[in-house]
Amino acid sequence: MASLGSALSIAVQSLNNATGELQVTNNNIANANTAGYTREVAVLNEATPVQEGNLSVGSGAVLEGYQSVRDELVQTQIQQETSAQSGANAQLSAMNEIQPTFTTSTTDIGTEMSALFSSLSTLSTEPTSSSSRQAVLTAGQNLATAFNSASSTLTQQQTGLNTQVTQDVSQINQLSQQIAALNPQIAQLKSTGQDGGTLQDQQDALVLKLSALTNVSVTQTDDGETVTTGNGTALVEGSQSFALQTTTGSDGMTHVLDQNGSDITSSLTGGDLGGTIQTRDTTIPGLLTQLNTLANQFATAFNSAQATGYDQNGDAGQDFFTIPSTVAGSAAGIKVAISDPSLIAASSDGTSGSNGNLTNLSAVQTNALPSGQTPGDAYAGLVYKVGSLTSDANAESTATTASLTQLNDQLSSVSGVSIDEESANLLTYQQAYEAAARVVTTIQSLFTVTMSMGTAAAE
């Protein structure tokens, strides 16, 4: 049978529920600007009704717990897009460093190459002029320097990226450890039917940071999240994390090994690490090969032309450029072999006044190198490649940023805190509390009435 006592206990329960709801709202508002925070809602259920004879009477509401509002699918998409964005950014930042070297300036390879041929042409009008000869030598040195500095820009970037690999791997290991440490705690909460809540938020934030470093795939198990790299190398399983290692390979570059010591460098994609490795191992070596081939073939062609003529002393022309014996390292190693301007083989007949061989030297500009292109076209090809690699990385970065903005909107529409909404909730819960308090006051006055019933009858 219903009693004032049971009514009071329902009212007290309501007060507790409203307090709980206010607590959640308060927490949501407090974390409105906390990165990675997932809004929580209080889960209220009807209490089991009380059966009184034929009547079933409600017995209030029960606060079952707090639930974070998540969307795992969007969360996964954000992780993947973050990976793609970081990868593109890593490439973009390297290319932005490389690009100025290949931008038309007073000292780029194209300009210096033109200057060398111009100086040869000037020499053809006055083959005995020592100042014109010196100008050819200086132009040759400037061209060699332009090759040297382009090569050094590329290799310096490569070295910088190499250091980045080590840093990225150490961060990945740290994050894996932290994710693994959270797994048992979350699993324990879940086993008792509770929501992962804040711990889950922390773990999601860590996984997102990890995604920015490399492409990862996450699966949910009873033991928590299992995290592997894109190629399947385990990073986290339950409470255990597996550290990646780094080692210097025979190519002098830092390689990444899994916990078994297998080299997984080339299979790492996405994220800062993936982008860094891609730029270090594919993009820059490709550019270096093109640059070295150009330097090598140009110097070889120029030396051959020089050998067909005679210098000012009537001796057969000797090498103008010194280049390493292999194509690799040609751009870094190219230098002018002669320091005496009279050794420029302008003459075709051994007399100092002849300019006949300058035609052969100038023809290097218009003749195809073994690569099938003229030196100018080969350099233009290199400029095109640098430009398109940079612009591709830029486009990729812009696209992923836009898509990430959209995905974040989507996620925040599910999991984000709306101050307006919370403000409205605040009012609702405040009223609920006030109403429950009113019930308590009412019951209290009823109790008073009940207690004074006898006294009133006696009067």
């Binding site: 042409s121 009008t125 005995t128 007399t351 430009g387 612009s391 805190v417 709306s418 403000s423």
Partner: protein, 402 residues
Amino acid sequence: MRVTNMLPDMQYAIQQSQQNLSTALQQVSTGLRVNKPSDDPSASANMVVSLAASANVDQYTSNVSSVLPQMQTVDSAISSVVTSLNSAVTQGTEGASGTENTADRQEIASQVQSILSSVITQANTSYEGVYVFGGSETSTPPFVAASTTYTSAKGSASSPLSTTTALTAGSVTTISDATTGETMTFKAAAGDTVATLQTAIANAVSAGTLSAGTTATINAGGQLEIGTNSSSDGIVVSSNDAALGSMTAASGTSVANAYAYVGNSSVNTVQVGDSMTVATNLPGNQLFTSGTNVIGSLQNLISALQSGTSAEIGTATTAVSTALNDVSEQRVPLDNTISQLNSQESYLGQEKVTLTTQQTSLVGANLADAATNLSQAELQNSAVMAAAAKVLPETLLQYLQG
């Protein structure tokens, strides 16, 4: 859709609009649409090629400017030679007439002699230190007065040179013959001796390069003596051989009116267009000593005037006249080249304009477009800012408080 926080979207929109603004501003301020290869990789690559073409055009223009005065010098020297030859023909015709006596002819001969020396002066014309009629031997005058005998600096009675004296490998000895107009060049190989040089001279005589009778002998003073054995055949000898020392003409052996050509037949060419090269010199042997032989014909006229008959003077005068025609003919291509150079100069000017236009269209910004883009970007940017300022501070709490 539930909208919770508009700040990230606003930040993104502001950033996008500022990026557009910055791009538009850069295009307007630099006047360039392409500032770095990634702005337009293909235009940047074409730009490299176009800039190289531009640099070539600049260089061709500068080549035309430096070659033209030299060509003009060559032309004016030839023009003087033509004038001289004309006056030699006049003198010869006068000398050939039966009315002139011996003294008159001697007088005319000496006038023709001075014409010859003036022709030699023209033939030794130099432009900025470069002898323009010496082929590629540009550092020394190409026409040198010839002598019958040259002797070496090395060798003495006490320590004579001999046929077995070894020559320095790589050394060069040249004998230029005024009569044949040709030059023998002997480059010593390892193991060569004076005897090898003697054989080479004998071979050159058989081949007709050197006049008959030219020999190299060791004279009483122990020196190497190269001589023609004829008072009318002159030679010029030079050597850089250390064993022989320099070769000098023996005193009193110079041959009157004989000049040997010590230049060569090389022609230097200079590129003044992608497919246009011009010859910048005219080897003196081609112009003055080969074919109808300007110098030879003048020499003959002088000796005919000095000791010949009217008929001989007439023949010699006709030869000078033929040489004159020949020189005038050779001048025609030279004049053509000069006029080509003048028109090439204006063509290159046009080409430069074409390339500059091409470069502007490759990387330049269309200023009208760029300015429009800039004002649009400004407008968009202030709209985004205004929207952000209006939307972001709005919250329910404000209204509840109010």
